[in-house]
Structures are given as structure tokens and as C-alpha cells.
């Protein structure tokens, strides 16, 4: 889960007045189609296609990078942006919408080869690739980069730890051991262009991990620990122009040693890329509309003030707006340790989904969700609905029957946890409170500080049990767009943690767990998608998760921006493709 969207989308989305016809996503056309600007065109097509190089592409953002160091970052925009100066082993296909979720090569010469049980992966990189200083990129540098980003004793705390959890490696600290390369045995480099990964367990989706910025090469001698972020040694088409100034700016210029021929995923159109950090959100939106900047780096769309202005004055802005699915699911966890299955199902029946949808801002806020996996993910069936009701208003009779089954015919009392200050989350809880009251289920809404929500409250096993927290409002966006990338951490019994628990409903279903194991040993993506679909259905049957919406973001697409399209893999515009029209 990248930090990006957790509840950040559409803070002020009182947007139900937005025309439902503008809901988008129904053009049905995907792939390499191109189109002139139009409402939601960028969600599915390339808008303003161009190969015109030159100019300056201007980004701005309110809050800072977590880090510009590819080995120390977990923000979605940062992953997307770091590709300017950090090439990774694999990449996502540069194409609009779902087509972007397919993998392709970047540094690699070909796709990785697994062994039979998916515990060993071998990959080769292209020869003759160079850093900005002209020195050659080697497999050892990639190995070192993975080592430093996963085994650093807290020096680089921000990034995810997928390698650490999947590699068959004793823990160590790259900055403390004498010879990190020798200590790091789980990755072998038989020669300068080959990497062999040894995993603890079968992991069919391991190639997705290889798209992450942690695989961008870092020569051991260039590593300065946490200070490396100031001036990252570039392997991509751009390099730092002077040091990154935290909270102030980051400027990039062309890296002459980058060879376009080795890199099919980056057109690298602009001559310069600038990022202004610390610009107030309203100001960013104003400048975007006035053409004074080109892209909001945060990739979460316009702020609430501008959004409501745009919705009110739709005719003016219509052709510059995209309203794609963000890839995130908003949902309510129904906690298994607190509530029995039938009681959970009663909640699923009684919930007024229409009202929940409106709580999330209606059609511009997102699409009403009745299943687990977002439509952008293979295996998803948005049509499936295990708890149907007329107009989605809830099936009270079925709910009553389930209540009797779980021994609470008169309903029960429990608490619902929400994050402080998140209006849509609170609105969701209130809506649920209203609709469950109809069958005698009394919810009390408890708000908790957002930053400690998972660490101490809803994500703490003890807290949930001791305080009768039966439900919690949550949100989830995948690290990569697959069923595993999306669903493992929130539904697998193996992912349950004592604190900081994201499988907050603590679903530990043998059938679900077995299916996850099976998926990790299945090579064919289509077969895997099928398994993910089964998991989806099982989770719905268990009523451990009550899906609310697949949310949508509202992006403003300036006219002078070329090659604009929305990619599902990063859930924002594909930064690598962007260019500026110079007249």
C-alpha cells in the first residue's frame, strides 16, 4: 500500500450534484488510442500525443517527497517520478489505463525466469548501460541497491520491505558488516549482467517487486546512506541539477549518458524538469488552471476548493478534466474477533450502499462497490454482489434472518472506528450507523488520530478486543495492480499483525489462505486472476470486508501538456510520457 491515497482523495467531495452521465469509464476503449482533449479523455486515451522534445516541464507539490532516494521511498508519486533518474529492472507498460499494469523490461534484457516452484528467479540486464558520470551499470550495483534499501538498520526507513520479507536471507546491516556484498547471499551475481534471487517461499508475482525503485542501481562507493537523497547518481534520462533542497525544490536536466535506444519506456521529451515544493494546494490548482505550472506532482487530483469550483462551472473546465478510478477501494472492516460470521453478514445485508455511495461524493467520488477487487485489477468482477437489495438500499429481511442466526435477534451494540478529520470516512460511518439502526444494530462512532489509527487503535489486536471495536473505516490502494498486490495484506491470515495490522478484520480463513499460497505458485497471470476472483468471493461470503466505493480522482489536464494519459499502475498520469507543447 503506497501512502498516497489513504483517505486523502476528495476531502470535500460534496459532489453528488455532479452529472452522473459524466461518470466516465464507459467509453470502453483502451490501449493506444489517442484523442483530442475532452472530458475524461486522459483516463483511457493518450491526449495531445506528440514527440516534440524540449522545454521545461514544471511540477509543483504541497508536501515534500518522503525521499528522493529510490531506495528509501514509498510515496506513489515518488515512485512514478523517480523513474526520471532511476531505472529499475522491470517497468510497467507505458499505456493508458489497465494496459499499463502489464510488465515490461527496463534495465533488464528480458523478463525474469523462475525455477519450478517460483523460489528462484534469474534476470539479465542490458550491457553497456551507463550512469550520469559515464561509468557502467552492473548487476552488482543493483544487488547493492537492494541490500541497502532493505537491510539498513533504520538508516533508510521509508521504503517497503518486500525483498526483506521474500528473500532467503539472514538479517544484517549493510552499513555495519565488513563486506555487505558477500554477506548478502540471497542475491547472486554470477557475472556483471546477471542477478539470481533466492526466495524463502514460492512467489509467482515476484517480477512486480522488480519494478520497484529499490532495484535502481546504486554503486556501493556512491552510497552516502540517508544523505544519498541529496544527489542521486542517475541511471535515467535526467540527472539532478544541483542538490535536492528538502521542502524547496528539485531540478532535473538531461543526462547525456542515457541512451534512448536501451529504454523503450521513456520518451524523455522535456529538456528540463523542475519541482517546486511547498506550494499551497489552492495555489497549485490556480497555477495549473492558469498554465503557470504543468503537473501537480502529488498525483491525487485537484484540491477540494478547486474541485467544487470546477463542478459548479463544468462547462469551462470540462475538456480539461479526467475522472479516472484511482485503483483504491474504500471499505469498512468488520472485525472477526468481535462479531460472528452471521452477525457480519447481517451488517452486509442491512447496509444502505446507496447512502454509503453518496457519503463518498456519489459518482464523481467513485463507483459503488459490491466486491473486493477494484475493476482495474485482473480477476475483478464488479458485477458480483452477494448481498443484493432493491436500489442498493439494503435487504432488511435477510439481515434480520442473519441476526437471528447469530443469536442476536434484537440486534446488538458495537463501535465503529474512524480516522479523525477525514470527512468522507466519518460520513461513511454515519451512513452506516443510520442504516444499521433499522435492524437494531447500534453503532457508536469513535474517532482516532489518523497517524496512529493502525499502530494503536483499529490496527491493534488488543485495543480492538478490549474496546469492542466491531468495525473500522479504511481504504486501500495496491502496491501493484494485481490481486496479490491489492488483497494479500488485507485478507491473508499470514498478514495479521499484533499492531500496525492492516488485515484489520483479522480474517484468517483456511480456504482464503490456501488460495493465496496457490496463487504464489501459479505462473500464468490469467490463472492467477481466476484465483483472485475466488478469493474476492470468499471474502465477501465471510463478510469480513464491506466494500463502499472504488474511488475516483479529479485531475486537471492543462492544454499545453502533451502525451497525457492516466496509468493504473501508478494511479496517476504517466510522468515519463509527459511533454510540453511549446506553441
Amino acid at each position: 500500500m503506497r501512502k498516497r491515497t489513504l483517505g486523502f482523495v476528495a476531502l470535500g467531495a460534496a459532489a453528488s450534484i455532479f452529472l452522473s452521465a459524466c461518470g466516465g469509464g464507459d467509453t470502453g476503449e483502451t490501449g493506444g488510442d489517442t484523442a483530442a482533449a475532452g472530458y475524461d479523455a486522459g483516463s483511457t486515451q493518450i491526449v495531445n500525443p506528440s514527440d516534440q522534445a524540449g522545454g521545461t516541464l514544471r511540477y509543483a507539490i504541497q508536501s515534500d517527497f518522503d525521499s528522493t532516494d529510490p531506495g528509501d521511498t514509498y510515496y506513489g508519486f515518488s515512485w512514478n517520478f523517480s523513474r526520471y533518474y532511476a531505472r529499475t529492472l522491470l517497468a510497467f507498460t507505458p499505456a493508458p489505463a489497465e494496459a499499463s499494469t502489464e510488465l515490461t523490461t527496463d534495465l533488464a534484457a528480458g523478463m525474469p525466469e523462475p525455477n519450478e516452484d517460483f523460489t528462484e528467479w534469474t534476470i539479465k540486464i542490458q550491457e553497456g548501460l551507463k550512469y550520469e558520470d559515464g561509468s557502467e551499470i552492473t548487476a552488482q550495483d543493483i544487488k547493492y541497491a537492494i541490500a541497502r534499501s532493505n537491510y539498513n538498520g533504520g538508516e533508510l526507513p521509508n521504503g517497503p520491505r518486500y525483498f526483506e520479507s521474500s528473500l532467503d536471507q539472514e538479517p544484517f546491516n549493510v552499513y555495519e558488516v565488513d563486506d555487505p556484498m558477500a554477506t548478502f547471499t540471497a542475491v547472486e551475481t554470477p557475472d556483471d549482467y546477471t542477478l539470481v534471487f533466492h526466495l524463502k517461499e514460492s512467489f509467482s508475482e515476484f517480477p512486480y517487486i522488480l519494478t520497484q525503485p529499490q532495484t535502481a542501481p546504486v554503486p556501493e562507493e556512491a552510497d552516502r546512506g540517508a544523505l544519498y537523497r541529496e544527489n542521486v547518481l542517475s541511471s535515467g534520462p535526467y540527472k539532478f541539477d544541483g542538490a535536492y533542497e528538502p521542502g524547496v525544490k528539485l531540478d532535473l536536466v538531461r543526462n547525456e549518458h542515457w541512451d534512448a535506444a536501451t529504454d523503450p519506456t521513456r520518451p524523455a521529451l522535456p529538456d528540463e524538469v523542475t519541482v517546486e515544493i511547498g506550494v499551497e494546494q489552492n495555489e497549485i490548482d490556480q497555477r495549473l488552471v492558469n498554465g503557470e505550472i504543468d503537473v501537480d506532482l502529488s498525483g491525487v487530483g485537484v484540491g477540494p476548493a478547486m474541485k467544487s469550483q470546477m463542478i459548479q462551472d463544468l462547462e469551462t473546465y470540462e475538456n480539461n478534466l479526467d475522472n479516472p478510478l484511482s485503483g483504491a477501494l474504500r471499505f469498512v472492516n468488520i472485525h472477526t474477533p468481535v462479531l460472528d460470521t452471521a452477525c457480519r453478514q447481517a451488517i452486509a445485508y442491512a447496509a444502505d450502499r446507496d447512502s454509503l455511495h453518496r457519503a463518498w461524493g456519489g459518482d464523481t467520488g467513485g463507483d459503488l462497490a459490491t466486491n473486493l477487487l477494484p475493476p482495474t485489477i485482473p480477476g475483478s468482477d464488479p458485477e458480483s454482489n452477494l448481498y443484493p437489495s432493491e436500489d442498493n438500499k439494503g435487504d432488511l429481511e435477510a439481515a434480520q434472518a442473519k441476526l437471528e442466526e447469530c443469536g442476536e435477534p434484537d440486534g446488538f451494540e458495537t463501535n465503529i472506528a474512524v480516522r479523525e478529520g477525514r470527512e468522507p470516512d466519518i460520513a461513511t460511518a454515519e451512513s452506516l450507523q443510520e442504516s444499521l439502526k433499522r435492524v437494531g444494530i447500534e453503532l457508536e462512532i469513535k474517532t482516532f488520530p489518523a497517524e496512529d489509527f493502525f499502530a494503536q487503535y483499529a490496527g491493534s489486536q488488543d485495543y480492538v478486543r478490549e474496546n469492542n471495536i466491531g468495525l473500522s473505516v479504511s481504504g486501500w490502494i495496491p502496491d501493484w495492480a494485481s490481486g496479490y498486490g491489492f488483497g494479500y495484506k488485507i485478507t491473508s491470515g499470514d498478514a495479521i499483525q499484533e499492531t500496525g495490522n492492516y488485515n484489520t478484520s483479522e480474517l484468517d480463513d483456511p480456504e482464503v489462505n490456501a488460495l493465496w499460497d496457490q496463487a504464489l505458485t501459479t505462473e500464468d497471470p490469467d490463472e492467477r486472476a481466476d484465483i483472485y476472483g475466488q478469493i474476492d468471493t470468499l471474502v465477501m461470503e465471510q463478510a469480513a470486508i464491506l466494500p463502499v466505493v472504488f474511488d475516483r480522482a479529479m485531475f486537471y489536464r492543462p492544454d499545453n501538456l502533451t502525451n497525457v494519459y492516466y496509468t493504473s499502475s501508478y494511479a496517476m498520469y504517466d510522468f515519463m510520457a509527459l511533454g510540453v507543447d511549446q506553441g
Binding site: M1, E155, E164, D223, G225, P246, N282, Q286, E451, D452
Partner: protein, 337 residues
């Protein structure tokens, strides 16, 4: 005199120590009372979904499991004697006064503060000039023309000015002047020494916005002060000498009316120099205040401490300067040396 300054500086240092201790207490002891464990504290500095091992590593690296008093004296020690920080295999010296390293931006706090100070100082001094001159001028005119249309208009505007928050006036100013009528270019701060024009245009709106709030207050105070002074016997004496009204007002009435304003001005300037948080935020100026707000949101304790200390230093210094100036302005006041 020197004695007095030394004594005041000593008191200032004591104040700084207290401010540091209180800030420390707020950010370290209060969360502990609220049940936040060292791991919970560490979670603020690492990415989402960290493993317990990563949390423990961070706890150890930052010394979060040490007793608060130890952490506090570590801070004081590095402030006085400097400190060293380990990055990867690199050791970085942080010379005294070392305010520590920001955990989340991994840069020395002092360096960041000094880099941002020119912006805040430009904002503060420019705005101070405007609000002082504007506020006093309006206040004097209002007092002299008490009850006139100007007076009533100015005072109701001042009332509005005092009660309107900066994020409202600032956003309004931006929306109209920059984005609507395009009178001013989009403000992009440049140092005065490099591009005075850009420096001026980038700061003009922030100056006016910040000054408006203060000017309103100064106008009201000046008016009240003037009205009081104009009722004094020595003003009657001045008139009885045959002095012109202009001289009576500007020589005899203004000086005593401004004397109490000097005190407020010193305090206000000190406060703004410590970071005009809202103004910097609204106008996307990367000054000390913007740094502070990021740090508070990110719970970046060394930065919060650093900004708080810097602000306290400014207030102490500005107050000292005011107190030293006071006897020059009002000879009745003697510094008890």
C-alpha cells in the same frame, strides 16, 4: 549598562532553556502519557506498514528508548558542544550550536533554518515597515479627525482587518491580484541579492497581507494613544506656545503616543521573525514558518525544537533591543544598571 545587557541575556538564556524543556515535554512526555511506545514514536519516522524490526532499528538509531531526561540532555549537549551524525558509513560533523538533524528530511536543522531565514526576514521586515507606517499614519489621521467619515471608515476596516484570518485575505489577494487580474506575476521568491525585482514582486502581496492584519491593530492602538496624549496638559502647553497644529501633532503628540507601540512592535517583529506560519503557507514561501508547519505535521521533533528556539531567540533579542531603545525614546525610563 553592559551589566544590564549581560543580565538580560542571562535571563534570555534561562527562558530559552525553559522553552526547550517545555517543547521537549510536549513532544516526548505527553505522547508517552498518552500511551505511545518508543515503537509508536519510531513509526512517525518510517514509511507505512513497517516491520517491527524496522521500527526497533529506528528506535535504537534515534535513541527513542532512552529516558526523556537523557534525550533532553543529549540535545542540550549537542547544542553546546556540537555533535556527530552517522550516515551510512559516513560521519558528519555538526558544529555547535547543533540543533540536531531532522529525521524526516535528513538535513541539519540549523542549516535549514539559516537557509530559510532570509525569506522569513524579508517577509517580516518588509511587512513590519508597511504595517508600522500604514498603521500609525491611519491611526494618527483617525485620532486627529476623530468622528469623521475617514475615522469611522478606517476603524471599521481595522476591525475587519483584525478579525479576518490571513488564509482568507491571502487567498483572496492571490485569487484576484495574481490569478484573476494578473496584476502581479505568480510569486516566486528570489533572494534580494540575486533578483531584487522578483524579490519585491514575490513578497509584495505577502507583505501587504501580513501587514494588513497588524496595521489594523496598530491603527487602533495609535488612535487610542493619540487621543489620550492629545488630552494631556503638555499638548495644551504646546498649543499655548503658538505652535502649529502639525507641529503639535507630529512633534508633541506622536512621540508619546508611539512609545507604548514600540514595545508591541518589538514583540510582534520577534514573533513574525520566528516564522509567519500562515502567511508563508498561503503564499508558498519556504520560510521558517513553513518549515515549522511541516515539522509539526510530520512530528519532526528536532525541527520543532529548532524553530521554537529560534522564535524564542528572536523574541528575547527584540525585547532586549526595545528595552535598550526605550530610555532613548522616553527619558523618564532609566535602565536599572
Amino acid at each position: 549598562m553592559l551589566n544590564y545587557i549581560l543580565r538580560r541575556l542571562g535571563a534570555g538564556l534561562l527562558l530559552l532553556a525553559v522553552v526547550t524543556a517545555v517543547t521537549f515535554w510536549i513532544f516526548y512526555v505527553l505522547p508517552k502519557w498518552a500511551g505511545v511506545t518508543p515503537r509508536g514514536m519510531a513509526a512517525m519516522y518510517v514509511g507505512k506498514a513497517p516491520t517491527p524490526e524496522a521500527l526497533d532499528a529506528t528506535v535504537e538509531r534515534l535513541g527513542l528508548d532512552q529516558p526523556v531526561i537523557v534525550q533532553f540532555f543529549d540535545f542540550i549537549r549537542s547544542l553546546v558542544f556540537g555533535d556527530q551524525f552517522q550516515f551510512g558509513r559516513e560521519t558528519v560533523e555538526c558544529a555547535a550550536p547543533c540543533l540536531g538533524y531532522s529525521f524526516s528530511t535528513n538535513s541539519p536543522v540549523l542549516e535549514q533554518l539559516l537557509a530559510r531565514l532570509p525569506i522569513t526576514a524579508s517577509l517580516a521586515f518588509g511587512a513590519a515597515v508597511i504595517w508600522l507606517i500604514g498603521g500609525v499614519a491611519v491611526g494618527v489621521l483617525s485620532a486627529v479627525k476623530k468622528g469623521s467619515l475617514f475615522d469611522r471608515l478606517a476603524m471599521s476596516t481595522a476591525l475587519v482587518g483584525v478579525s479576518l484570518p490571513i488564509y482568507f485575505t491571502g487567498l483572496l489577494a492571490l485569487a484576484f491580484v495574481v490569478h484573476g487580474w494578473k496584476i502581479l506575476p505568480v510569486p516566486r521568491y528570489e533572494p534580494l541579492t540575486e533578483n531584487p525585482g522578483a524579490w519585491f514582486t514575490a513578497l509584495l502581496l505577502p507583505w501587504i497581507t501580513l501587514a494588513f492584519l497588524h496595521a489594523a491593530q496598530y491603527a487602533r492602538q495609535t488612535r487610542a494613544g493619540m487621543l489620550e496624549v492629545l488630552g494631556e496638559d503638555y499638548i495644551r502647553t504646546a498649543r499655548a506656545k503658538g505652535l502649529s497644529e502639525r507641529k503639535v501633532i507630529f512633534k508633541h503628540a506622536l512621540r508619546p503616543a508611539l512609545t507604548p507601540i514600540l514595545t508591541i512592535f518589538g514583540l510582534d517583529l520577534g514573533l513574525v521573525l520566528g516564522g509567519a506560519i500562515l502567511t508563508e503557507r498561503v503564499f508558498s514561501l519556504k520560510g521558517v514558518g513553513a518549515y515549522a508547519i511541516e515539522a509539526i505535521i510530520g512530528k519532526d521533533l528536532p525541527v520543532v525544537l529548532g524553530v521554537t528556539l529560534l522564535g524564542a531567540v528572536f523574541i528575547v533579542v527584540c525585547n532586549l533591543i526595545v528595552d535598550l531603545l526605550y530610555p532613548l525614546v522616553d527619558p523618564r525610563v532609566r535602565i536599572a544598571a
